[in-house]
């Protein structure tokens, strides 16, 4: 148990370093690879939070689907990607200031708040409880069904948008 803070600090530092490289590196393929590293670090954070199912979903869905989709998009738009010139716009310093102010404001607020300590005891079988709650009419079956309808709409919509053909005229 005493090793947990060390693991957390190391993983958090590596994840933030990878995320920093995602947002600063010039080559977008490298940025996508660093994005995979950052997402994997977040999966480790989920394991530290006793959310094993979340870590699995993170690896399967974020790394397995979204990151690969991003790599595909980078490759399909490759000609523009290798353009010379800066990869950030003229007002990038304004964006940096906004991000830093946001971080300082949030962290100064949350370090002044008294948060609850970690509840003792085992969390139990969260996968079973989560699966039951997602199909329980008294709990979250409606958000679950709405999410599935939303995924179908997104699927059809993205096919319709990306379909080549008559829309180019």
């Amino acid at each position: 148990m005493s090793a947990t803070p060390i693991i957390f600090l190391v993983v958090a530092a590596l994840t933030l370093a990878a995320a920093f490289l995602v947002v600063t590196v010039r080559n977008l393929i490298h940025a996508a690879v660093w994005l995979v590293a950052a997402l994997f670090g977040v999966a480790v954070i989920f394991v530290l939070l006793d959310a094993g199912f979340m870590a699995t979903v993170q690896v399967v869905l974020y790394i397995g689907a979204i990151a690969i989709l991003i790599v595909f998009a980078v490759m399909l738009t490759r000609r523009v990607m290798q353009d010379v010139g800066p990869q950030r716009n003229a007002n990038w310093w304004l964006g940096a200031i906004v991000a830093i102010v946001f971080f300082v404001a949030i962290s100064s607020l949350l370090w002044r708040t008294a948060w609850p300590a970690l509840p003792g005891g085992d969390v139990g079988d969260t996968v079973l409880a989560l699966g039951r709650s997602l199909v329980d009419p008294n709990k979250y079956v409606i958000p679950f069904e709405v999410a599935s309808v939303m995924l179908i709409i997104a699927l059809i919509g993205s096919i319709a948008v990306a379909l080549p053909g008559k829309q180019s005229e």
Partner: protein, 102 residues
């Protein structure tokens, strides 16, 4: 034992990095990567609050699962839009996609 504020600080830093990518990056795909990082920071917050709040109540994880689904839908639609724009205008630079800019 790791205090909750560490997780929240980590998530805030991750969110700030994503925000910087959204505001400063030229390439629309890179902007989408920033959005993904921000969504991931939010999910870290949700799971951390679930763990430190009431782990017996699974609400936090159910919320996180719904956010995962939203992130997947967002990535699919966003990348489809980018590829469609690239096919029609041969650019993925956000500042050149100004057809609806007034």
């Amino acid at each position: 034992m790791v205090p909750l504020s560490w997780y929240l600080t980590f998530a805030a830093a991750l969110f700030a990095l994503g925000l910087y990518a959204v505001l400063a990056r030229k390439n629309a795909v890179a902007i989408l990567m920033g959005v993904e990082i921000m969504l991931n920071a939010v999910i870290v917050n949700l799971v951390a609050f679930w763990r430190y709040g009431n782990p017996a109540d699974i609400a936090g994880q159910a919320f996180a699962v719904i956010v995962f689904a939203v992130a997947a839908a967002e990535a699919a639609v966003g990348l489809a839009l980018i590829i469609s724009i690239y096919r029609q205008r041969a650019t993925v630079m956000a500042e050149q996609i100004d057809l609806m800019k007034w």
